[in-house]
């Protein structure tokens, strides 16, 4: 998304948000690209289960 300085202010990232983003980044960056793919694949499989839950 392009934020034009006269039209739209870029949303501020709060300290709390920054902390959680960094925490997640720190966790995810430990893994190799193959492992990252596996994690993503498992997460999407889990989401599919949730979508089908009734």
């Amino acid at each position: 998304m392009i934020y034009h300085r006269f039209i739209m202010k870029k949303p501020k990232i709060t300290a709390n948000e920054k902390k959680r983003i960094l925490e997640n980044h720190k966790w995810f960056s430990k893994f190799s690209p193959v492992e990252k793919l596996k994690i993503a694949k498992r997460a999407s499989k889990f989401s599919e289960i949730l979508k089908n839950a009734k």
Binding site: T14, N16, R20, N24, W27, I39, R42, A43, S44, F46
Partner: protein, 165 residues
């Protein structure tokens, strides 16, 4: 017919949460998916009853899955840590307070939300999920909201509006 479904770690973990009768509610973006929101996430957020026995059962289960708590067990059990995470190649954020304050100065009490919970089942994986009702999920989203949480809240509010009509 034979069921060829191979459960992943996450699936096994949630299955055992139910089997071991751990009082939990699936909150966060995964719960939003259940309500039909088009979002995705790699981590899992759960709120648990902060009864000592319940947390002990959760930590014992986490050990079985080699999930490391981000805070010391002692601090978690003495209720000094209202939020911690369990992680290895799964990341589960655990909210373990009795009640939580929200950004709009209201409170969400776990036991009340748990009483009103909705139970969702997936036949294929034989998984059962405990999810807060939509109003409580919005309250959980307001505990420590990030920008994306506000977006989720907007979508949840619109779903709520549609359900009423």
């Amino acid at each position: 017919m034979q069921n060829n479904f191979k459960p992943d770690k996450e699936i096994k973990f949630f299955r055992l949460l139910n089997e071991k009768k751990i009082k939990y509610l699936l909150i966060g973006r995964q719960a939003c998916v259940i309500y039909g929101l088009p979002v995705n996430t790699f981590d899992y957020d759960i709120a648990v009853d902060n009864d000592r026995e319940n947390i002990e059962k959760l930590l014992k289960l986490a050990k079985e899955f080699e999930l490391k708590p981000s805070k010391s067990e002692q601090d978690i059990l003495s209720k000094k840590q209202p939020i911690f995470s369990l992680q290895n190649d799964i990341k589960i954020d655990v909210f373990c307070a009795k009640r939580y304050g929200t950004v709009d100065n209201k409170f969400i009490v776990f036991s009340d939300a748990f009483e009103k919970k909705i139970i969702k089942r997936d036949k294929k994986s034989r998984l059962v999920f405990y999810v807060p009702i939509i109003d409580d999920l919005i309250m959980f989203k307001k505990i420590n909201p990030r920008e994306k949480d506000f977006e989720d809240i907007k979508m949840l509010e619109s779903i709520k509006g549609k359900e009423k009509n």
